[in-house]
């Protein structure tokens, strides 16, 4: 696929995933990144060994119940987006992915938020926030996608 695209350089991707399931799901999306210049952002530095030699940026884990950390995560994420200047942001959640998409939109990046497969009944808070900002928001459950006006395009499983 990378042989016949028509851009002068490989698209630069910022792939953002928090710890645990968000990161494991991102790992399952890696075949989609083949041929692109992928930079990862996650919360656990020990995850870097899984994507060597791709650059990995670390941000603090936070959610809506940890307000101070959310502010720190936002500041850090702004710096990461500024450093990487991605063409494309892909996130599997959670709040860090929303922040990255929000900031990357300011620089004209194309952005996609893929809600975790854990959200089988309703969208996550981050996905709901991303709906107002991201170019594409996907649910991995067709029922949830239909009910929330998001897109369904299969799942990681």
């Amino acid at each position: 696929m990378s042989g016949n695209h028509n851009t002068p350089r490989r698209p630069r991707i910022l792939a953002v995933a928090s710890g645990g399931g968000h990161w494991v799901q991102m790992m399952r999306l890696r075949p989609a990144f083949e041929g692109a210049d992928v930079h990862y952002a996650t919360v656990d530095a020990s995850a870097a060994v899984m994507v060597v030699p791709a650059p990995v940026y670390i941000y603090p884990d936070a959610n809506k119940d940890t307000k101070l950390k959310l502010v720190l995560a936002a500041a850090r994420m702004f710096w990461i987006v500024l450093s990487v200047r991605p063409d494309v942001v892909i996130s599997t959640g959670a709040s860090g992915g929303f922040l990255a998409i929000r900031f990357a939109k300011l620089f004209g990046a194309r952005t996609m938020f893929i809600d975790s497969i854990a959200n089988a009944r309703e969208l996550s808070v981050s996905a709901r926030l991303a709906k107002g900002v991201a170019d594409r928001v996907l649910s991995q459950w067709s029922g949830v996608a239909q009910a929330t006006g998001t897109e369904f395009a299969g799942a990681v499983l």
Binding site: M1, S2, H5, N6, T7, P11, I13, G19, G20, G21, H22, W23, V24, Q25, M27, R28, L29, R30, P31, A32, F33, A36, D44, S46, V49, M50, D61, N63, D65, D87, V88, I90, R102, F103, K105, L106, F107, G108, A109, R110, M112, I114, S116, I117, A118, N119, A120, R121, E122, L129, G132, V133, R136, L138, Q140, A153, G154, A155, V156, L157
Partner: protein, 179 residues
């Protein structure tokens, strides 16, 4: 060896206590537990608050059975490693999570051939006993391939590549500020 994990974000002492009680009666079977944010100590578990990614993968590979909260990271990792998995979903009414999405996850994932869902200590003990008694006969048929569904991969690939030729937004696009 049994590998138990409750993730790293929130405590889940109901599951770990149940497992601790079981381990007290089954001292020949070591239990390694990623106890995450739990403040308690468990006499019969080898507790590690936070397991790094490499250790996590190695422990998963070695485990005979995995016991876990209904977190997708564990579910996917156990399926990729072809391990039997006993899931106990967290419940919001017991203060175990912010909402009940783990109940939904467990219900949906119970269709996987390697997964058994339990909701209390007794069911956990019975399932562990049954799984270990059956031994090698119960090796799960399921071993997940390493990638997502082709449709999802293709959708992301198209998003990355087919629009890559389009010009980037002019200057500072303020659309994102209006959310």
């Amino acid at each position: 060896m049994i590998f138990a994990t409750v993730g790293t974000q929130l405590p889940f002492d109901r599951m770990l206590s149940a497992l601790d009680d079981w381990a007290a009666r089954n001292i020949s079977m070591p239990v390694l537990a990623q106890t995450g944010a739990s403040a308690r100590s468990f006499r019969n578990l080898k507790a590690i608050p936070r397991v790094d990614q490499r250790t996590y993968a190695e422990t998963m590979e070695k485990a005979r059975v995995v016991v876990a909260h209904a977190g997708m990271g564990t579910i996917l990792s156990a399926a990729e490693a072809g391990k039997r998995l006993i899931l106990m979903p967290r419940r919001a009414e017991l203060g175990e999570h912010r909402n009940d999405h783990q109940l939904a996850t467990a219900e949906e994932m119970s269709v996987l051939s390697n997964v058994t869902v339990v909701h209390d200590a007794k069911a956990l003990w019975d399932t562990l006993d049954a799984v270990l008694e059956a031994g090698a006969d119960l090796t799960p048929a399921l071993t997940l391939s390493a990638g997502a569904q082709p449709r999802l991969i293709n959708t992301i690939q198209d998003f990355i590549w087919t629009q890559a030729a389009q010009p980037r937004a002019r200057g500072l696009a303020l659309r994102g500020l209006r959310a």
